[in-house]
Symmetry: D2
């Protein structure tokens, strides 16, 4: 169990830190003050510079145009990038593109890889992922209404999806739909598809307003309808009836990616807590940092962040060594999301009224990362997964 | 200690519930979907109807054009109105107007009452309150930079304020400024003023973006500068050097108003939790409400809300009977704010992805009411006030 | 909703406080240092003095030799007595005697009342209550193995019970047993009995060692076996098949009694926290009370205790006005037990090493009142009861 | 950062697990049922067997008669031994002997090592450590009243100590006393001494009753007085004025030892939670393990234990690599103690009434390990140490 910072990882982190400090600090201020659309030109320039570091699209192999980092190296990098609102986007390392690349890499046909993966890995296009449906609990991945029917040489899709991150302006989508409703094994009823978003019948109804923002572009969550969307037979991604399996494959590392990013957010929040409490005075000559309560928040945050970090690194190391460990992935999902929420809450309290404003990224994280306990499976599902695994060793078959 | 729902209070609540159901349910949906500006004409109509109920401006005496309710009756009413995003605005019962009316009523000269209080109580104009400064911790009410100097017959004000709720479009302001910096007693250095917002030198720099919203109108928090603002000598509100005392007077009932509203928000959130968990199915035929975890959240919320409610009513009753009880007011401030945050957090988790969206008011409350633990004194200040009072009985003089 | 301290209740409290201060402070020290057996003679004297106050056996009517207090008055008194380890015992107001008296009063035949209730109310004898069985979850009150069979003129009982508080030395027992195992309605299978403990076949196997203590006398929890215990037909208490109903009747006010006592314990713990932090110095001239963390514990405890107190009083008042409210009783059971645990935890931390010792009653309460979240139904059962009631209003029939 | 289970450590753990299963399971039941004194003969036999494993006194080098394990290996072993109440005692690996051996090893003169360390490491004698005083806050290590004065060739000690673990029956003591009260540097006023407990003037006043137990032998905490205790000049342990430094040296690894043991206790508690919930039925055929609440407790415990374990191993690894890291040691002290308390609390709730009894070790741990948040520095001191270190990086000099 060696999940140390190797010399290579250490160098990657240093390089990433320099990049963040040089190119992303101001851009973060800009996106908070001016919004997503306004910063597009500057962001494009920065991404171009990121490409030159050799760390762009870090999770893809060099052959696929990526940085070729191991999962542990990705974890270390993600911890650095997560400390800036734009870190992951700048390095083409953000959801949902990362997961889509991983799916296409593992299951895409050569044609699909050429058409979708290659430009996505190169950062030329954007993608979205259509899974969740407003009518069904996202925590039950085998219950959905979107259907795909094979009619001749075409699949015809009908359905309703939402929380399709970055759908607004995405070039293609990966989508899950029921292809075999009569299949007895309910985990084998769905299949995955990949096709361009400009097909007829696919409509972005709205960017769902989330915590007060409709957002746009990458910073948005779309609601879409599919009405008789016709796509060629070879739009199937991976095997028919393999939808659930692919979704799980996608979510495993996806949760590692999220959790490492959250550790980064936490580290930033702790740093901001320290800086603010060192500078802000309660009365002349008496900085907040001398308040015992604030000292305790700092100590508790340090402990929780260290715990979260070690657990995430261990999970990444285990996956790297032995393939996926579902229990570990679920463990970090709810544990780190909990730490994230508590650390952000403390950071806001330390900042007082300023913490409520968009003059810092804390308010954005506080409101939008409330979703960390919901998306990719709510806490309760992940606790269930862990308990099922643990209790299984005691002969208990936990019921759903 | 009888803080029962009298027959009169009971009738008031019934009437208010009917009003909310008839006039505010749709308007709340509209404000979430279309924003504050868009609903202004409809809101004006609704306020006209509210005026006809006799409960408009409930906290002012009939003589001052209000509903003439006792503090306990106000508490009961506020609990009902708090269940809708627009309840308090509709009844001319929202911060900062309420506090300003109370100040003007208690300390305003006949001229000030005629000029500012009368039209405010009638709902014809809007006001703002300028106290917090970005450069100083809001938790220290005696440390500020805004100064007012008497030059001949005029006060000349210079300073920088923010978190001036509803400053955008307000007709007049109440403002706290240092008039006597050399005064030894630091609680006697500031005075309060009231004057129109169109005076020269008073500038609304921006609506501070809070949790992603700049907002506008009543739903905004302004940052303002005062550069050589000259106002007549009689703009002083209450006695010179009385600023701190007036602020405290204003904040006491203000915290009761907030806390009663929060109880209303909690009740709505619990109702939404129940409705959602009764309807939403995890799998066909299995509603969320059958999950033990959700049942426990409902039970815990019920308990905490009941506790909060009783404490708030008791505080209102004590004030009504005996005048202000600083300890009780501080007690409910942090206790109820804590309940509010926990209940909203559970409600969002029950709603899953929907809870993150603005299709319900939960996300607005979750993000914006995070401020409840900060504004009008952060939790830590109120805990200090309570501890100082409790430990005082044991001979301890708690230091700041 | 007036659950004020009436003048009478106020006088009762004053009288009880005087009594505690005069007679129980030293006795509490003695029981901690010397144990239960050693203080028996002094306790008997004190009980004799308590009898002379007119408040002895406060919950029984004057006609039955008690103090004739209303439930609200009992609540106020219990809050005072709970502040001393021996308060309730001194006033013949302790479990399980209180519950047994209430049962005998409501359901006992004239003969049973004469034989058991009269001397118990007079404080001449002691009793125990046999319900919980080691083999079955106490949280399921309809599942037990102890059986009573009618053979001719006698009931023959066989079974195994534990957590029979004060069984050691008790003169009689009230016991629940299955009399009608074939009865379809599972809530109608059990009946209640009352008979002396010296019947043949009833054996006290041991005083169960609880948190390190076997204890003795009133301060003990017995494990008992019944082997062919033969008692006369008229040993039935209340109607056959009425066991569950009687148990519920017993537990309702029982939970009020516990909760009011816990509020008393909390008040004592807060007082000790304040006294200790006022006196104990961290360094010369710097008392613990100047630590912000301790101030926050004091403020949080004050708030939680006030909340608990109001909820308990409200529940007592509702029962007094309208008969039992199962939801309210369950609400206070888990809410107040939670407050109790947190307040005691803080009090121990304030006392440091001293808090771990038996030089104060905190360690006893901390360890033994851990049971407050378990006995008379674990928290989880009470949350279920509340959720079932709340969700019932939304058309959900919550499953067990 | 490789704190893996090496093959050697893995073998040690397997061996220790076998030992616990073969020799300590029954002995634990015996000590709970019969008490410490009763099991002495059996314990002596078991210790003899432990000696033959080569793991006896694991923290001492082979040359000093120990097992010669590295700190990381000790951590792994301690995690196994901690799962049984008697694990550490059986392997001569319990406080306060471990710390005393470490002190004597590092600072003892050859004579002191021969006289005290050798037989202690061999498990032939027992020792105690006298530091805490009832009159002074244990959290302030430089404030004490016990004095040692050099009179000719003898030190004369006078003072009052308590919480001297295992003082009852100890053969020698290590004690901290003020030798240089006038020394300006308050960290250089105390010195450490070692001498036999049978010296004249040293009196064991009582075994302090802790959580209801006076205890005896190793399972006790003594209160002692020193009245003109005269010991030879060479009783000084380490350099004069080095008392504080020695105490810190002792406490560093001591906290690692505690924390690793606590992880073991947590693992046992989780195992018991799982076993109990798998077996105990709420109603026929419905085990507790099917309750969602219990599943969540299991998942949360798994996560917290894993976090605690990784943090402890990392701290051990860092110390092994680089010497003491005060921040890390303080971090694990409060973090793991918190996990311990929560896990034990859940385990008791799962066991219901049984959890309150001494039929399992849970009640002992729940009550006595409440001290984990107090002894060797309360949580609040360790949070202060961490905050001081973290805020130091931001230029803040945190005041005490």
């Amino acid at each position: 169990m060696d999940f140390a910072l190797t010399q290579k990882a250490s160098e990657i982190c240093r390089q990433a830190e320099d990049f963040v400090n040089s190119h992303l600090v101001d851009l973060e201020k800009a996106v908070l003050a001016e919004g997503w659309e306004a910063i597009q030109p500057r962001l494009a320039e920065v991404r171009e510079k990121a490409r030159q570091t050799g760390l762009f699209t870090p999770h893809m192999s060099k052959g696929h145009g990526g940085g070729g980092l191991t999962l542990l190296e990705q974890a270390h990098l993600s911890e650095v990038l997560g400390q800036n609102l734009l870190g992951h986007v700048a390095f083409n390392f953000a959801a949902p593109d990362v997961g889509n690349m991983e799916l296409l890499h593992a299951f895409g046909s050569p044609e699909q890889q050429e058409r979708f993966l290659k430009p996505l890995a190169a950062g030329k296009i954007r993608s979205t992922f259509l899974m969740t449906e407003p009518e069904h609990a996202g925590s039950n991945p085998v219950w959905m209404s979107t259907k795909a029917e094979l009619q001749g040489d075409e699949w015809v899709l009908n359905g309703h999806k939402w929380f399709a991150t970055a759908a607004d302006g995405a070039d293609f989508c990966v989508i899950m739909a029921i292809t075999d409703p009569e299949e007895e094994n309910r985990y084998a009823r769905a299949s995955m598809f990949v096709f361009p978003t400009d097909v007829e019948g696919l409509k972005l109804v709205r960017n769902v307003s989330v915590m007060g923002h409709e957002g746009s572009g990458w910073m948005s969550h779309g609601e879409l309808t599919l009405e008789n969307v016709r796509v060629p037979k070879d739009s199937l991604l991976g095997p028919r009836r393999g939808g659930f399996k692919l979704a799980q494959t996608r979510l495993g590392p996806g949760r590692i990616h999220h959790a490492t990013r959250w550790v980064g957010v936490c580290k930033r929040a702790l740093r901001m807590m320290c800086e603010r409490s060192a500078q802000r005075e309660l009365s002349p000559g008496k900085p907040l940092a001398q308040q015992q309560t604030i000292q305790e928040w700092i100590a508790e945050s340090r402990a929780e962040i260290e715990a979260a970090r070690l657990m995430v690194l261990q999970a990444a190391w285990k996956i790297e060594q032995h393939g996926e460990f579902r229990e570990d992935v679920s463990l970090i999902k709810f544990f780190v999301a909990g730490v994230l929420q508590r650390v952000l809450d403390r950071a806001i309290q330390v900042h007082g009224a300023l913490g409520m404003t968009d003059d810092t990224p804390l308010a954005f994280w506080y409101s939008h990362e409330r979703g960390s306990r919901i998306y990719d499976g709510p806490d309760e599902v992940h606790k269930y997964v862990v308990a099922r695994s643990v209790l299984g060793e005691y002969g208990v078959k936990v019921k759903r």
